[in-house]
């Protein structure tokens, strides 16, 4: 890496303007030198011989004429074994090790290597001398917790290369070379287990992208049954504050049926990350029997951490996601919240004095959001395996109004929309996903026709409810009233789910199919109810029965006993 000098000519918040002598690269990393500290920054605009840099730290103390060193590479992350179970900040600094080094507070200018240089990994080669490889080819593997972590040929290789040597099975550190490869025109390259990749460029070392059709089960009933997501798909959760976005994300991060979960806490409360941080190492992953932490990476750039690093954090997260996808794994990235990321863009745009778009967001907001979500996808790898990266982002619209630019730009590019509503969260109807407004374009694993029928029921119930507010219960016909009760019943026993109950919090697909069939039966059955009070009593009791059914262990005696009671009631 060459280090070309420059010097500061202006400072405005976390943006500095630097006069350079030679050349700079757009999005190049640079370090502003402040005494013995080197503050990481990124080139974001060049004008003549002056470059504007966003600094990933506080700029207090910097002076005009202070030196700036350009690093010659783009903002990158380290990819290799040892990423899982870690907690990073937006620039991939491991936070627990930072705490060991600096104590209670984050210290600016301190950057640690993301991956441990000491850990020995048991390397098993998957190729032999003379084999042909290309970008992303699996050269070998090391066990990383429950996964076979594939060591891959660098993603920036062009064309076919030949393996000239590969180490034998044995322990090595991430830095030590495991293979040497040569290109057709005679260049050679050493390959180590760790490689760097610029975060803002997508890793595309796969054969082809595929349509996301395989369902991703979240074990949240309203999502899986009504608004499903697919592996490799994208979805967004907009909602006003207090509507339960973060709880929904946390529940998803626990129960989603994927191999790896990456949590990007972007500009949100530190307290929420702390919960994940302290609880995941003790929670068991039902799929593997190991702790949830072993399949999790946390990227945490909370609201009080520097804003520019917040912008970088979602890219760091998605790049790590793409890396694991290249191993043929199914990855889920949960970004909370993309609005904070968009605000970071807005702050920078303001400092650059760009012409503002709607609500002062920059004009390129939409294209940035689109290109971020487009990094999701189900892919077929060159070796024949397939992997997926699913992205779910929360959106925090100002005033809870979905008409604002970030929500609208997101809705254009995602495949499913889980809109949370204040009315539902106020009424303690969790998860507060609005069943009338939300949508999904992904295929359903549950009887499509029955779901459609239930949807119509909900719509009808909502209409009757509106009408009753005007004419009162006494002005409503018994038929209408029963339709309303059926919709309420569906809402209470199926759409609502208790995130704090050990059984009810996660409903596997098989159980959803079974229970939903039963609920559909109730919705379709014509009950002979003559008056409203009787109807109300009937549905209240039925609701109560289903509500005791939900927390009963799947196929336990309790489960069967309650089912019989239900059957007796609706027969």
């Amino acid at each position: 890496m060459t280090s070309k000098p420059g010097r500061i000519v202006a400072i405005n918040g976390n943006m500095i303007t630097v006069q350079f002598d030679d050349h700079v690269i757009q999005n190049e990393v640079a370090f502003a030198v402040l005494g013995d500290q080197r503050l990481k920054s990124e080139v974001i605009r060049v004008r003549g011989m002056q470059a504007d840099l966003q600094v990933f730290e506080e700029t207090n103390g910097l002076r005009v004429n202070d030196a700036v060193e350009f690093a010659g590479n783009l903002l990158s992350v380290e990819l290799g074994p040892g990423l899982l179970t870690q907690v990073f900040d937006g620039l991939q600094n491991p936070l627990p090790r930072l705490a060991e080094e600096c104590g209670f507070f984050l210290k600016r200018g301190t950057y640690l290597k993301a991956l441990s240089r000491e850990t020995q990994w048991e390397f098993t080669p998957l190729v032999k001398q003379g084999d042909t490889v290309r970008a992303g080819s699996w050269l070998g593997s090391v066990p990383e917790g429950i996964f076979e972590h594939k060591i891959m040929a660098p993603f920036d290789l062009a064309g076919a290369w030949t393996v000239t040597s590969i180490v034998d099975k044995g322990a090595c550190t991430v830095d030590s070379p495991v293979a040497v490869i040569a290109s057709a025109d005679g260049r050679t390259r050493e390959v180590a287990m760790v490689q760097e990749w610029p975060v803002k460029i997508a890793i595309d070392a796969y054969a082809e992208r595929q349509r996301p059709v395989e369902p991703l089960t979240t074990k949240c009933r309203i999502i899986d049954t009504f608004f499903p997501i697919s592996r490799g798909g994208t979805y967004c959760i907009p909602g006003p504050f207090g509507a339960g976005k973060t709880v929904l994300q946390q529940v998803t991060s626990r129960y989603a049926d994927v191999d790896i979960v990456i949590i990007a806490a972007c500009g949100e409360r530190a307290g929420e990350v702390v919960e994940t941080l302290r609880e995941f190492p003790h929670l068991e992953d039902p799929r593997t029997g190991r702790t949830l932490m072993e399949r999790t990476v946390i990227i945490c750039n909370t609201s009080s951490m520097p804003v520019a690093a917040r912008e970088a954090s979602v890219y760091t997260a998605v790049t790590i996601g793409e890396y694991y996808r290249q191993m043929g794994l199914n990855v889920l990235l949960l970004a909370d919240s993309t609005s904070r990321w968009a605000q970071a863009l807005r702050e920078m745009s303001g400092r650059l004095e760009e012409i503002p778009g709607e609500e002062a967001f920059p004009a390129y907001l939409e294209s940035r959001i689109a290109s971020f979500y487009e990094r999701a996808g189900a892919v077929k790898l060159h070796g024949g395996a397939s992997g997926s990266l699913t992205i779910g982002g929360t959106v925090s619209p100002a005033g809870g109004n979905f008409e604002e630019p970030v929500t609208q730009a997101t809705l254009k590019v995602v495949g499913a929309f889980h809109g949370l509503s204040r009315e539902r969260s106020d009424a303690r109807r969790y998860p507060a996903i609005n069943p009338l407004e939300s949508w999904s374009k992904y295929p359903n694993a549950i009887d499509e026709e029955a779901v459609q029928f239930a949807r119509v029921m909900l719509m009808r119930g909502s209409e009757v409810n509106q009408m009753m507010k005007v004419v009162g219960e006494e002005g409503t016909s018994v038929d209408d009233f029963v339709a309303y009760l059926k919709a309420e019943f569906l809402d209470a026993v199926y759409l609502q789910q208790d995130a704090f109950d050990t059984v009810d919090a996660a409903t596997p697909l098989e159980r959803q199919q079974y229970v939903f069939a039963k609920v559909s039966e109730v919705l379709r059955t014509h009950f002979d109810l003559k008056e409203k009070d009787a109807a109300r009593r009937f549905f209240l009791e039925l609701t109560q029965l289903f509500k005791t059914w939900n927390p009963a262990e799947w196929e336990s005696d309790d489960f069967k006993r309650i089912e019989q009671q239900i059957n007796a009631r609706i027969a």
């Binding site: 405005n12 005009v64 004429n65 702390v274 945490c300 925090s396 005033g399 809870g400 009162g472 006494e474």
Partner: protein, 440 residues
Amino acid sequence: MRKVYTRVIQIAGNVITVSASGVANGELAEVYSQRGTSLAQVIRIQSDRVALQVFAGARGIATNDEVRFLGHEMRVSFSADLLGRVFDGSGVPRDRGPALSGNWTEIGGPSVNPAKRIIPRHMVRTGIPMIDVFNTLVESQKLPIFSVAGEPYNELLARIAMQAEVDVIVFGGMGLKYDDYLYFRDTFDTQGALVRCVMFVHTAADPVVECLLVPDMCLAVAEKFALEGKRVLALLTDMTNFADAMKEIAITMEQVPSNRGYPGDLYSKLAARYEKAVDFDGAGSITILAVTTMPGDDVTHPVPDNTGYITEGQFYLRNGRIEPFGSLSRLKQQVNGKTRDDHRTIMNTMIQLYAACRETQEKQAMGFQMSAWDTKLLKYGGLFEQRMMTLSVNIPLERALDECWNILAECFEKSEVSIKAGMLDEYWPEKSRPAGGSAA
């Protein structure tokens, strides 16, 4: 020997620009004008043009006034001597005590490493049932009181401060009416809390820039106490004034406004302050209780809206009462399972019934028929408002829970409240018992 600059090339609002070199971003300077000496802080540098915000305001500054850079950033002196003292936003004593000196600590320091935080686990008892029972305040929580002007939010704040079991209170007043400042000082004084209290007060008559410094001064001091193992309660009133001060400076600096004139970094700026609330792994804690007045009772106004996304809930003060709907303590789940076994049940039951009562009230207002159940609900609502919601009610949590059972028993039959049988047997008061006397 520090260089003195005498060429002010621009004055706009409270921001002056001087021609100077070798100045660090964020550095403090002293400005000597005919009105006296004021501190100023560097907020932008463009080659040799250095923009400073003048704490005392730019009024009266001459283009040839002297500006001397001090070589350090805004800081506050920290020692146990701070307790019982009152300062203004730039750290100048408001009482007759000595000026701050020595043991300086910079304000607006770096963020706490999330890996050094722990999950909050201690309840803060306030003696207010609407808080203790329904939206429990938790140590290290950051919680604003949302309110419109005219509500008794400062009284509520003072009362919580007096009754909360904490070691140190750090009070930050922003844009306070002078009367309110005196009210707080006298309340703390008469209740004997002044000795464990530090006050930083910016009144409405003081220069706007000082308002911006108040939260940082407070939280820097609070952080120091917390690192010494103290449980600190930081009170900030009113954060809307703080946001308005930021707006004023941003507009003066010709920044592009984002929403209703507020700067685009409003969220980050507010979050940087609120996120100072912390429970340190191996030291003390900071709990932040703030006031956010909502212009026009509009919760979607940028200040309450951004605040709501940052804080861990909010207390909604309306008509002199803490509203059960809209109020929220996100951390209550961490503690209310450990108080008394009926706490969560009572909390949920009471709120559900009160919600039903509100619906009935609406039905009543529209002239629909009232059933027997409706009548019961109306009676319940009245008792609930009178014995729980009224702000003057001041009882410990356990008595408040007992009182809830009494209200239920006075209005409903056992079978109507949908509480588990086991709990009913244990807590349902017999009719003959006097109010408030049921056994725990």
